[in-house]
Symmetry: C2
Subunit: 261 residues, 2 copies
């Protein structure tokens, strides 16, 4: 069980998101260059400039804190407090001019996430999860909704191409048991679970900056997010996660992934 | 070449979209019942109530006009002017609480679409295409962007499950040649093409109310939308379409679908 997140750090996390949003909104729906990273995923000047601004603010305010960022790497990774940053989660969605990408921020204390922020800067929807208090969306507490099984579940994932090899069949088992499936959405999907509009998200090929910020948001709203085996997410987790608003739907998803139902 | 659309009918199309938006916004992100239609697609009270309101307004204002609606069928289909209505295109997206569904409206004169409206009532983004004038988004003229080939294309589709049988391989040929692919989005994707933020959309399992409203919007912005063989869309078209902002990208997509490149 992580310690309660100090209010000062919650407020600083929001300040980081404000800073990111100003930059991202400036580049949204403008013609910008796109580079390919070694893993073939795209990155833009907006991703890089946003992460640089976030890192600068952390360095100025909390020079002893560590940082793990998607675009510019790690520093002081063994510090007590470590920030995990994805300046634009859903760069493809951002490039395509759709307002369902977001900035993701987590703060870890001794490796456990005590703060998570999902910020959609165009729609100005921001979910903040912090240990010791309920998750909020734009300041208002939110709760996940009840969903007893997959037959009642609104399921989503960003792309079917996240599921490589045997995982494609595992995903198919989940979606064919679900009420309905929607594609796309990146981090926004997890905010929708926290707010009780969606039930289950299954994803893979994620990295720590993609999933760590989700944990406090989902859990502070009454949901659960784990790896595909049901284990809590840590810096050493694999790349595949399941998030659900209701533990019963979460258990049913794990069972379907494993071919047990 | 269709005749120019009278301004009075453009304004009436916008009034229909206003009426639809008021109803749809009232139901968005609220718990509502979902029924399954015979084709297993979902429908909500919001779809039905919206179409009823649109039909009532058409009947009061232009009693001689025909109507083809997704939820409540056809009347006076052989009239000179026929409205084609999809009250909520992207019902799954609407149910999932994502603001990328939309209301679609077309007006046909002698079977040719002279007016198309794509309205996203939550984000309040509305594309209006009318023969004889440029397509607008929220009143401002928009243009598609240049895209010489698939290697430069931002491609999208609502769901991979639209592509049944041999079409799955055809879709794979297109996406594997494209710059990047984004899933989800329903009618909103076509607005993004008109505004020059996306390049190509490939879809299938569509009905006339899904595709007729797109034609004036895309073509009035400088793009092209046809069936997979390159033929213009009519009430008798099949269920599979290609939309592109640049004719070169459109031709490359047809060739990839047919296995010619």
């Amino acid at each position: 069980m992580p310690k309660a997140c100090p209010q000062e750090l919650v407020a600083f996390g929001e300040r980081l998101a404000d800073t990111a949003g100003e930059i991202v909104r400036r580049y949204y729906r403008t013609p910008i260059g796109v580079d390919d990273k070694p893993d073939a995923s795209p990155v833009t000047i907006a991703d890089r400039e946003t992460e640089t601004a976030i890192r600068k603010l952390i360095g100025e305010t909390y020079p002893g804190h560590g940082i793990i960022g998607e675009e510019h790497g790690s520093e002081r990774r063994d510090a007590t407090f470590v920030w995990v940053i994805d300046p634009i989660d859903g760069t493809r969605t951002f490039i395509a001019g759709r307002p369902l990408f977001g900035t993701l921020l987590a703060l870890l204390e001794d490796g456990l996430p005590i703060l998570g922020v999902i910020d959609q800067p165009v729609l100005r929807e921001r979910w903040v999860g912090a240990s010791g208090r309920p998750t909020t969306c734009n300041g208002t507490p939110v709760r996940t909704r009840a969903c007893p099984d997959l037959a009642h579940a609104v399921l989503s994932t960003t792309s079917p191409h996240m599921f490589l090899g045997d995982r494609a069949a595992a995903w198919d088992r989940v979606r064919l048991q679900s009420r309905l499936v929607v594609y796309g959405g990146d981090c926004y999907q997890y905010g929708l679970i926290a707010s009780g509009f969606n039930d289950v998200v299954v994803e893979a090929t994620l990295q720590v900056h993609d999933y760590m910020p989700l944990v406090p948001v989902i859990e502070g709203a009454g949901g659960l997010v784990t790896d595909w085996a049901g284990a809590p997410l840590t810096l050493a987790s694999g790349d595949a996660i399941v998030a659900a608003g209701d533990r019963r739907a979460h258990a049913a998803t794990l069972a379907a992934l494993a071919g047990r139902n």
